[in-house]
């Protein structure tokens, strides 16, 4: 019985989306930034992979659409969560601006890919998704640099 009560509590707590608690030190903030970059990277790479696959004729439209729009949702969610954290100091502020720029670019390019796939022009998808290669590289570099 106890197990259930506790897990219910944990569950309720985890299932409602809530902003990540404020980071008091630069170190903590940097940690959160890295986690953010990681999940952003995961979403960007997903879109690239899905786009390449669809362009190569290995995946059909509806599926690709779902994968890409999920990734878009995920990415904007990640960005929203990160923005909700107060940078503790000026260095953190700078860091926030760097990462936020990366996230915004990525989100923009993902959106373009989603529009393309919704229009059903799968063969152009590769070119549309091209800029994401750069975004992925930058996110990866950011992640490495700060962890």
């Amino acid at each position: 019985m106890l197990v259930i009560v506790v897990s219910l509590a944990v569950l309720a707590w985890r299932m409602v989306p809530h902003p990540v608690g404020a980071a008091r030190t630069y170190g903590k903030y940097q940690g959160k930034a890295v986690t953010t970059a990681k999940s952003a990277l995961s979403n960007v790479e997903t879109v690239r992979l899905a786009a390449r696959t669809a362009a190569a004729g290995n995946a059909f439209g509806p599926y690709t659409t779902v994968v890409i729009s999920d990734a878009e949702e995920g990415l904007s969610g990640v960005q929203g969560t990160f923005d909700s954290i107060q940078p503790p100091d000026d260095r953190a502020d700078a860091l926030a601006q760097d990462l936020d720029a990366l996230l915004s670019d990525a989100l923009e390019h993902v959106r373009e890919a989603r529009v393309a796939v919704r229009r059903g022009v799968l063969d152009e998808l590769a070119t549309v998704a091209e800029p994401l290669t750069d975004d992925a590289g930058k996110l990866d570099a950011f992640k490495e640099q700060h962890s």
């Binding site: 197990v3 992979l49 290995n58 659409t65």
Partner: protein, 409 residues
């Protein structure tokens, strides 16, 4: 001949029926995150479900008593009731996750947001529960689940360096950015996905629905000893292909569609279509199993007439429970909770709740009153006791780990 056919069918059904949204998500996510570092857990889990289901199936065949009757008879009405509440709650989480899974599978071919498909899904599920005979139901979705073999196909076509694969699987190591707690947490998730209580509620209740007798013990063994390991192999291939295609690209699995991505990448459209069909059948089948399991648990605890072997009007409360559960599941999913999160919780808590139902089965399968001369042998008892210890430890570790790792975040 007819017997052989029945047994083959049983095995195929068991393979297809083994995998559900928990296995899909857990194996793909773990593969992408830990590569094959946790593959061994799947083996441990499969052996566990084999031991557990074989006992439950044998008890049901010999004594005609399904799991939850035994829970109440051996643990008493008080503890049995607490147990019922816990099991219903976890079963409900799983049902919700499966419903979402079906809707998402449909969304992958319909390109409509899955939330819009949830009510439709629920109606489908209910119609099948209401109308389709038990055996037909089991076979249709079990065999449909075989389409998941697309994952195995993709794995073979990818043609990994098998030596390296084996080495990775047999020399588990924790990646630098992971810690022992997340490793353990996802280990429990995998274990819970492989050894889910509802599978056993359903398996033993199904044995009663199909009127198993001691003549069917061979069928029981075939399902369990052949079907489940092959189902486990299927789970492992989902993990392996994710570790080969997604992990190198730093892709983490946060959604169900991502699970099928490696298949498309490696083997193309047709295979992708199969994978999606498989995901549909597997989650739909599991939605039926969990929905019915809710009715089974309640009906068996209170002694109501339950089951699909009688007309719905003759098992009224049973069918009402199933309907209500499916509706509640729909509500939960419609709130927009992340289905993958729901899945993770359902399997982790499943692992935590295992001792509650495993223990009575273990005792009764040794009780001559119920089993006559078909009680457990010493070897089985030895293994079964080890597993009792294991699942008790897991049950104790789960909640703390959940909190430490922020549920694997």
């Amino acid at each position: 001949m007819k017997k052989m056919l029945q047994i083959t069918l049983g095995i195929l059904t068991a393979i297809g029926g083994f995998v559900d949204i928990g296995d899909l998500v857990a194996n793909a996510a773990v593969g992408a995150r830990f590569r094959l570092g946790l593959a061994w857990v799947v083996l441990v889990g499969v052996v566990g479900i084999i031991v557990y289901a074989e006992m439950a199936g044998r008890v049901a065949a010999i004594s005609g008593r399904p799991v939850f009757s035994l829970v109440r008879e051996r643990l008493g009405p008080g503890f049995g009731l607490a147990n019922l509440v816990a099991s219903l709650f976890i079963n409900f989480l799983t049902l919700s996750a499966e419903i979402a899974g079906v809707a998402i599978a449909l969304a992958m071919v319909a390109s409509v947001h899955y939330i819009l498909l949830v009510p439709f899904t629920a109606v489908l599920i209910w119609i099948v529960v209401w109308r389709l005979p038990f055996e037909r139901m089991e076979q249709v979705f079990g065999l449909g689940g075989l389409a998941l073999l697309a994952f195995m196909f993709a794995l073979v076509q990818f043609g990994p360096d098998w030596g390296n694969v084996i080495h990775q699987a047999t020399h588990p190591s924790i990646a630098k950015e992971e810690n022992i707690f997340t490793y353990a947490y996802f280990g429990i998730a995998l274990f819970g996905a492989a050894m889910t209580p509802y599978e056993v509620f359903f398996f033993s209740s199904g044995a009663v629905e199909e009127r198993w007798t001691r003549k069917d013990l061979a069928l029981n063994r075939a399902n369990v000893y052949v079907g489940f390991p092959l189902g486990g192999a299927l789970s492992l291939s989902i993990m392996a292909i994710a570790s080969l295609v997604l992990a190198p690209m730093h892709i983490g699995v946060d959604t169900l569609p991502q699970v099928a991505l490696p298949v498309a990448v490696v083997s193309g459209k047709i295979a992708l279509a199969c994978a999606i069909l498989g995901i549909f059948a597997a989650t739909f089948g599991a939605a039926l199993e969990t929905g019915l399991s809710a009715g089974y648990c309640l009906g068996q605890y209170f002694g109501w007439q339950w089951g699909k072997y009688v007309r719905p009007r003759e098992a009224a409360r049973f069918h009402v429970v199933v309907i209500v559960m499916v509706l509640l599941g729909v509500l939960v999913i419609m709130t927009g909770v992340d289905p993958v999160k729901v899945t993770e919780y359902s399997i982790v808590l499943s692992a935590a709740a295992l001792p509650l139902t495993y223990f009575p089965i273990l005792v009764v399968s040794n009780d001559p009153d119920y089993m006559g001369d078909k009680t457990n042998g010493p070897v089985l008892n030895f293994i079964a006791t080890l597993y009792l210890g294991l699942i008790v430890i897991i049950a104790l570790a789960t909640i703390p780990l959940m909190i430490i790792t922020k549920a694997g975040a």
